[in-house]
Subunit: 334 residues, 2 copies
DNA sequence: CTGAAAGCGCTAACAT
DNA sequence: ATGTTAGCGCTTTCAG
């Protein structure tokens, strides 16, 4: 490996000067700097980040933990983070928690050994405890809040997004509106449920616990919940599903039951996707600025790392997209 | 940070012994080892991988470069690699080349500084040259072959998969079969085209250049190619599309043109996905063992790293899945 | 089986 | 503005 020592020799300076020329140009005479830069270029010098990290106790590396990289929403978050980090010369160490607090903990332990400068995490139910593994590490919570005091979070306005979706259904005349919602130990699920309740309340529609079914964020959960909800004697005329994966399951369930969307059932999902856009009928959704969430989380982290103080919490707006999966309440149904 | 020195003190041994106890247990007396392990446990010791990597010139880290993390196919590959690496205690540094040789090169440069033990790369058109950045690094090419002499590759049998798909269409009576295929500087695209030609040939159907349109692997390319192909005076009665993203575009194009699948047009895609399974009509596809590709690539890399010799090239079989997007040639059309 | 000592490549003090 | 020196945390000779 070509080391700084070789570069220094080729440029006729000491290793220390070579180091300064490359990373603190202002401390070095212009001519010297040019010689060093040229030598580095010619020899194909690449800094050994391990040595540098060891010396400076920090590695121009940030950690990213998402809960499911196969979920396009998370893949998009990850891309937003990565692209932004790369622009600033940071390397991203990405891990997958699969929603499992244990895996999250192991990821944090591994990450810790790499002396990262910061962390972006999509929290699981136990993130608050797990973060003890990396004490003092600048951290941004993305998409969800772990509940930590004073945490920095970058999320969408789930309450408003959810409220808007339900208001849309209400305005179409629906009154018996089912909801399939994530586990209540996840902040997004709580907030989306809250939006649902608020919308019902301000329309003067009574809230029924039996119309709200929980699921564990996966397609299979959405399917089962929808099957149960739609097999009731008085089945809902509309369905609001609290995340993208469960929405897929719910739509498949309606097909199994032979229900026509939107004639027999209106349905709204949370989070847009190509799938939502191209299925037929195209799905009405609460769309999130996913890539931007990742970008902003990363920008904030980089700011935090460079010592800036910033407000704890960022909320990005959602946007309701009306497509063909929602329609007026058919006559005869009330 | 808790270092080995603290652990050694707590256990009443030298740092050298503590190090051995943790990584070369057989060199240390059982009782000593237990004391060290307990101390490490209690103090929450996490090895500083930077220091270790610096010393051992290698960091229990492997690089992974995919061309598009937003493509579920690549996300699945990545998960296969990650899960496997994690089992063996390796950390994955993942990068995204976005099909751009330049980005790939930069990723390799960054990676190089991290002293990785190995690399798994989904090649771009310039990978052969770019790999000069990491000379001597054990490398597996995944999904595609860069063309390097003696490269280790893990791919599917694209020729057979493609042939099977086209044979299926031929057996349904189709003769004017269009193909939308990737750029010919990518090995998978060449191989899939070859399978198409072979199938036609063994059925005695003449090959027409004009029925084959290239695209750059993205949805938009697939759409444009399909629009052109399907606007011809004698339009194809069937379409075979050479990758998942372009298939989406092609299907959208058929909708724009108001064509009914499979009545007016049969269509087969390469690579299965949830989208293919749940669109209507469900798409007939050449299915690939995607997650396994990632797993196997990683296993091979780990073997390579530990000094095993292995054969250069692995080919996994594909599987044709017949769904509703392909049907018999309607009477009257020939 | 264990300890002492050196050094991986780099950068931050401290000199000059 | 540049050189000298020391040391980041760890593993690995080399002795004992």
């Amino acid at each position: 490996m070509i080391g700084l020592y070789e570069v220094a020799q080729a440029a006729g300076v000491s290793p220390a000067t070579a180091s300064r020329a490359l990373h603190r140009p202002e401390l070095v005479a212009l001519r010297t700097r040019e010689r060093v830069e040229q030598a580095a270029q010619q020899l194909g010098y690449r800094p050994n980040v391990l040595a540098r990290g060891l010396r400076t106790r920090g590695s121009r590396t940030i950690g990213l933990i998402v809960t499911d990289i196969l979920n396009p929403f998370h893949a998009t978050l990850a891309k937003g983070v990565q692209d932004t980090a790369e622009e600033s010369g940071y390397t991203v160490l990405m891990f997958n928690s699969d929603e499992q607090p244990d895996k999250e903990r192991r990821a944090l332990e591994t990450l810790h050994g790499h002396l990262p400068q910061g962390l972006i995490v999509v929290p699981t139910a136990q993130t608050q405890e797990n973060l003890a593994v990396v004490p003092g590490l600048p951290t941004i919570e993305l998409d969800r809040a772990s509940g930590r005091e004073g945490a920095h979070t970058v999320m969408v306005d789930n309450v408003a997004g959810s409220r808007e979706a339900v208001q849309h259904l209400l305005s179409l005349g629906h009154r018996r509106i089912g909801m399939i919602v994530g586990q209540q130990d996840i902040s997004t699920a709580r907030e989306r449920l809250q939006g649902y309740r608020e919308a019902l309340e301000s329309a003067g529609v009574e809230y029924h616990d039996s119309l709200v079914l929980p699921g564990n964020h996966r397609e299979a959960d959405g399917r089962l919940a929808a099957l149960r909800l739609l097999s009731r004697r008085e089945r809902p005329t509309a369905l609001f599903v609290g995340n993208n994966e469960m929405t897929v399951g719910a739509v498949l369930a309606t097909r199994e039951l032979g229900l026509d969307i939107p004639r027999d059932l209106s349905i709204v999902g949370f989070d847009d996707s190509r799938w939502a856009q191209t299925m037929s009928p195209a799905l009405s959704v609460v769309s999130q600025p996913t890539y931007e969430l990742g970008q902003i989380a990363c920008q904030h982290l980089l700011n935090l790392i460079s010592g800036q103080r910033l407000q704890g919490s960022v909320r990005l707006p959602t946007r309701f997209v009306h497509r063909q999966s929602t329609g007026p309440l058919p006559a005869g149904q009330e």
